[in-house]
Amino acid sequence: MKKAFFTSLMAMALISFSFTNENNPLVGRWEFATKYQESTLNILTVFKADGTFDLFANKKPLVTGTYQVKHDTLFIADALCNANYSATYKLKFFGKQDSVQFNVIQDTCIRRKTSVNGVTYKNALAVK
């Protein structure tokens, strides 16, 4: 009985995990490249299933923070701007969700807004 209970608990946990991923198409690695001075800047953003994200520039950690996706809206916060303030961006996916564009709905953090708004990231796995 006890075993069955734990098995069903585990199954529920697995189901809820896959449910989270299915409903959060952002989970994964997204990247884009841009020019910066004489160098190429490769930006990689890793959105994790636990609601945190990391942003890397040329494999160097740049920003870390938290996020949530509801329908096609991203709520995002990081300590650099203000960990207690969530900006909102409209997500626009392309193809078979192999790329995504972030369009600002509201963001008071100019630093983030100028570097995120309108940028299209490719799914790091899809472009391999």
């Binding site: 910066y36 001075q37 004489e38 160098s39 800047l41 990689l44 890793v46 990391d54 890397f56 520039a57 040329n58 494999k59 160097k60 950690p61 740049l62 920003v63 870390t64 300590a79 650099l80 960990a83």
Partner: protein
């Protein structure tokens, strides 16, 4: 006869050895040429020191003394910054007087208290040197000149990027064991209570700004920093925010090298007034003590140590 034969053999060996430098593999790229120049005393007035005399490879291309010694042991006035992780920097030198690596690369050569060689003379020397003349012709399709000398040095400096620290391993590979739990807590402090992230953010943990952290008081601490370049009163005592990668191997710290250890730096930020009681124009971000506990200071230090690229040995375990 036998003796003569031996002498002949010896002379031949000496001749071959003497020819050694001419048979060295000659650089084929800007980066390789820059690397050679970086370590060559040909670029100093008395041919005794090179860039690497102060930017020591084993210390993340920084120096271990508060200020470095130039030609004839002339003392500098500011701490030698690391030249690693320069590729993404927006300005160079503590006062940001150079906007490009190319511009930065030439300045220490001609500075009288550093390498003390006017650039025109440096170019003359390189043109007279067979190896360099050939190498510049091969790489740049032209003889050595001011522009391609700067390009070669800057190209080498751009190769000195590091992104293989335990911290990187933790964040990018999600390797939870890469850093200690203490370092992880230190990262949280860095982003939170200690407020470091307000200035130290970005791929190399600095940004493009200049800040006055309270190390100017007009009496004992008199380096005006950025203001000497911009001539603006509000820039008095401001300096470039230092990158933090490999910080554990680049002691001493700050523009004047006044702090010998990372702990001294953390102690300063924890309560700046205890060290510099009457600063002029200190950033409001540092107006209140952080009230870090001893354990929190240790955690911050552990986090900073975790930013050390794996190529450098750090005595403390992470």
């Amino acid at each position: 006869m036998k003796k003569l034969y031996c002498l002949f053999l010896l002379a031949l060996a000496v001749m071959i050895m003497a020819m050694g430098p001419f048979t060295l593999e000659e650089p084929n790229t800007k980066e390789a040429l820059g690397k050679l120049l970086f370590a060559d005393p040909i670029l100093s007035g008395n041919r005794k020191i090179s860039c690497i005399s102060c930017h020591k490879a084993e210390f993340a291309f920084a120096d271990t003394t508060a200020v470095s010694l130039g030609v004839f042991k002339r003392k500098g006035i500011r701490n030698t910054p690391s030249v690693m992780n320069s590729a993404l920097q927006a300005n160079f030198f503590w006062d940001g007087r150079s906007a490009t690596l190319e511009d930065q690369a030439l300045a220490p050569i001609s500075n009288p208290i550093e390498m003390n060689l006017p650039i025109a003379l440096a170019i003359k020397r390189l043109n007279k040197n067979t190896l360099y003349r050939r190498a510049f012709m091969r790489v740049f399709k032209e003889a050595p000149n001011k522009k391609n000398l700067a390009q070669a040095l800057a190209a080498f400096e751009r190769t000195l990027e590091t992104s293989d620290s335990p911290f990187d391993d933790w964040r990018i590979n999600e390797n939870q064991k890469a850093v200690s739990e203490s370092a992880k807590r230190g990262f949280l402090l860095f982003n939170g209570k200690a407020n470091c992230i307000q200035c130290h953010f970005g791929p190399d943990f600095n940004n493009v700004e200049f800040r006055n952290i309270g190390l100017y008081d007009g009496k004992l601490l008199t380096d005006s920093g950025r203001a000497a370049i911009t001539k603006k009163q509000e820039d008095l005592g401001k300096f470039k925010i230092g990158p933090l990668r490999n910080i554990a191997v680049t002691a001493p710290y700050m523009h004047n090298g006044m702090f010998k250890t990372l702990r001294e730096v953390i102690d300063y930020y924890n309560d700046p007034n205890k060290i510099v009681p009457s600063p002029i124009g200190r950033d409001p971000l540092l107006s209140k003590p952080l009230s870090l506990s001893e354990q929190e200071k240790q955690e911050l230090e552990d986090f900073l140590i975790s930013l050390t690229d794996k190529r450098f040995k750090v005595n403390k375990s992470l």
